[in-house]
Symmetry: C5
Subunit: 254 residues, 5 copies
């Protein structure tokens, strides 16, 4: 559960509502047609921009900004110290019985290839291809949300221009100008809120998550290659620690 | 057929029209001269920006946002498992009779070079050059449409400034100001709609399509190189699967 | 002759003039001082931005957007098939008499180095340095024009702010406000037109041209290296064809 | 202590306050609700954009823009000349007793690995991984602050639009329009000040600091590799000097 | 002396002054407080953005946009043809007496290392490090000026919003609105002029200069490596010429 996403949305929307309530009723700011044109138009343009499956998939992608269950780097280092020691003492085949207990698909596949005796270079090729396409898929997910974040204010601006044109056409009664323009501005407001409080920050969180997941995978790859080359467990620990800031490193000193 | 493009355009334009109709007649928003300056000016500037053949080619490029007929990754993996097994059992020349049944030009050319006995490295050079220039051509196609997407709002803004200058020059009768400015704003509206509902999202879809096609070609290249190096069919399957998300992978388990 | 540039400029300027004439006389939009500050200020800032020779050179660069005389890829492939066959049959020295008939400096220099018996790797180094600095010079040319395209609207905006300040200072007579603001907006209009109809698209065409020329040079380099390594003419043809889209390839089939 | 950050903030905020006081009382520009929506909304959106620990960590990151205690490049060169001479004369193991006097974690770890007799290539891998992930963590820190710098004006704009809508709805009494719009503009002002005087420049300083730290680390890595390869102390000096501008180089000439 | 910078600044500022004088007195546009907030605020924010030494160093950096004394590429080629011939005929040590006559630090250091008999690869490493950090320092210099170019309009906008708020608060007397808003717009004007006529173009010139200097250094490096490998003088000439456009090349033909 990513509390930050929940707290952030509650905090920023709460403040926007509070800012509104200090000056007027909330009803003044609610307009179903304005919401329809901004949100619907954004989704429409997103469907032109991406295949259907990507736009539908965005719901799952956004869900990812609320949940997260990655291994910690420290637990990855601990596991590899254990595997490396075991492989050193009892041979690489001794890792085989452990495979089915490993939850992480990527780690299990890598160790399986190692136990199967593939060349380190072949393992590296396969596992790096996997990381680089994982990265590309993550990027696409974050990009879909970022595109929503550029379309929403554009739709808001289109809605406001439509409202302005209608207001200017019928400017005979000056007393209606103010309220008409107020309504026209609502789409701009909706677009700005959707983009800046929802889509852009969510796209940012997806990118941050992707970096963290890729870091974990690169540590796993480094560890697997080191094991398949039969490297010294202490060197493996040094290698994996070098991915981390000094304060997060795993050391044997008590 | 890419339904998303059709649905997206219908949805977003429908909502724009609906938003207009809630406040006025649609006729207020139709102005042939405004449409001419925005669309014509955009095309004119695009002709300065690109050679004639690129601008004419944009029609074909846009058609690509409505249609698509790529192989699925799964069928590519299936084919290569078949080829790899056959090449293992009966030798690489046994692939020759299959060549003429292959629809995909790229895959057929690659297998032809393999059957002809070229070095894997030479095959890789030729096939990678082909991918990288395909990518460049795709990029150019998407760029032409993206340039249309930056020119349209610029032309809209130029049209609005022209209208504003004319309105300001003849401001003697205040009652004409509103409608004159309304007309002046129409080019801004047209530019924003063309850019945000048509050109920019279409350029986005072309980029997404290009990535999907390049992914397929990179899988084909990986497969062909593996066959030409005589690699184990299981390793080939692992290699090709590593391009895909876990849920799309091809496995032999039932 | 690049017809597109001419047609594009005529079309877009024609439409702007037509848009003006539907609402007022053209004279309203002509202001020599406004033109002077936008164009002169743009040139002044460009002189701060680039050495004198670059700014003077921009005239020649812009001329390049109207003319073009590159070899076609197909003729490059034909020539190399011919050279490769000749080199195969009669030895590489048999190419020497052809050298003085070659128009293209780059191709002649490359073949000269080949005939002189330099190592393929040395030829590659020299010829790649040449391509990469050609590319850099092209980029600089396109960048100078692009900088003009960012300076022009900035000067337009400066001119408009100056006009606004003057209008606001002397707002005693309301009837003069409109025309004064109309004049102030002219520099914005000039800046937007110069940038969007002239400089930005011309910079775009220079980049497109550069890509086409670099493609030709990379094909020539590939061909020369293949000849200097004594490769099979059919392989050379395959290699050069891989730079092109399937429909532009040269094949021997009738 | 980074005096520039302190002087800069005092100078720019002082001038803003002075600019206000020449025209009105400061109280006109103080609005707690406006400050709340801009700052609170920015923090809220940042929490959606980054995990909780990053947003909390930003306080420590901002503190880094006020303090700095890096080794100077000259002292790094001096140390390595000393180490290199010692390693040459008395063997690499003679560096071991020095290790515990070294403050810098990175340098100590590198020398430790050298004294332990690891291959230069393994040392390079470990130490480069450490630099590249340090760089990534620095970048993330600067990015969090930069995102605050894009969110603040967005929140300011949202606050202003809310104020505008409320003003336009109740435009019956013209005398209230001015002050209401003045208040609405305050959030825009707060957003612009936060972004341009605080967040963006701080993000810039973090990037500059990161470059300086990475430079020092790259010099240390170069020095350690040279020692582990047993290179000549004069060559090591030349290598390390080549990272610096001529005037900062360390030479033996008096 | 870089005449273009001087001519450019005189021309663009002259045109701005002329544009002002056609409509009003220059005094209307002079406001010391406005200048103070824009320039002072820009410097203040720059001090937050960069360490003190960088901001002070910007004066020296800006001076570089007025002066320049680089070797021409042709003279570099001539020198290397001479050195290469001499090294061929009389051995590489014959270059030693020439070293003290060489003005350029970089060329002298490179030849010194060559005469000292270092491996070409070691020379290349040292000299490339020097180029890449020179490039980074140049980039930082240009970036400092570019950041001034983004801060100035931001400060101008902040000043204008402050003026607007004050004007709107005291809108009781309509006759004061015009002049008050005129004054408020002055900071926007100052910011736009500083950015577009001074800082941005100067940053551009620094980048152009850096490219020219790096080109010269890369030619020198290529020449030194060729000499240290004992390459043929004609090949060296070919290699160095390939950095240049055909019309600037040095040839022996009369």
């Amino acid at each position: 559960m990513d509390l930050a996403t929940v707290i952030g949305i509650v905090l920023s929307f709460g403040l926007v509502v509070a800012a509104i309530l200090t000056g007027s009723s909330l009803m003044v700011f609610i307009s179903v047609p304005s919401a329809l044109i901004v949100l619907g138009g954004t989704i429409g343009a997103a469907l032109v921009n991406y295949p259907l499956s990507y736009v539908i998939g965005v719901i799952g992608v956004i869900k990812n900004t609320f949940f997260s269950n990655l291994d910690t780097p420290a637990s990855v280092i601990d596991k590899f110290k254990d595997y490396a020691n075991r492989a050193r003492r009892e041979g690489i085949l001794s890792l085989e019985p452990l495979l089915k207990e490993i939850d992480d698909d990527y780690m299990r596949k890598g160790l399986q290839l190692t136990v199967d005796g593939l060349e380190p270079q072949t393992i590296q090729e396969i596992m790096e291809t996997e990381i680089s396409y994982l990265q590309e898929r993550h990027e696409t997910g974050a990009d879909v949300v970022a595109v929503l974040g550029t379309l929403a204010p554009a739709m808001g601006m289109i809605g406001t221009v439509i409202g302005l044109v209608q207001m200017l056409q019928t400017m005979s009664d000056p007393s209606t100008i103010g309220p008409a323009m107020a309504v026209a501005l609502l789409t701009t407001l909706y677009g700005a809120i959707l983009a800046n409080l929802v889509f852009n920050p969510m796209s940012g969180k997806l990118k941050t998550r992707s970096k963290e997941e890729v870091l974990i995978r690169e540590m796993i790859l480094e560890g697997i290659l080191a094991i398949s080359k039969g490297e010294n467990p202490r060197i493996i620990e040094e290698k994996l620690n070098s991915f981390l800031p000094p304060k997060d490193r795993v050391t044997d000193q008590p």
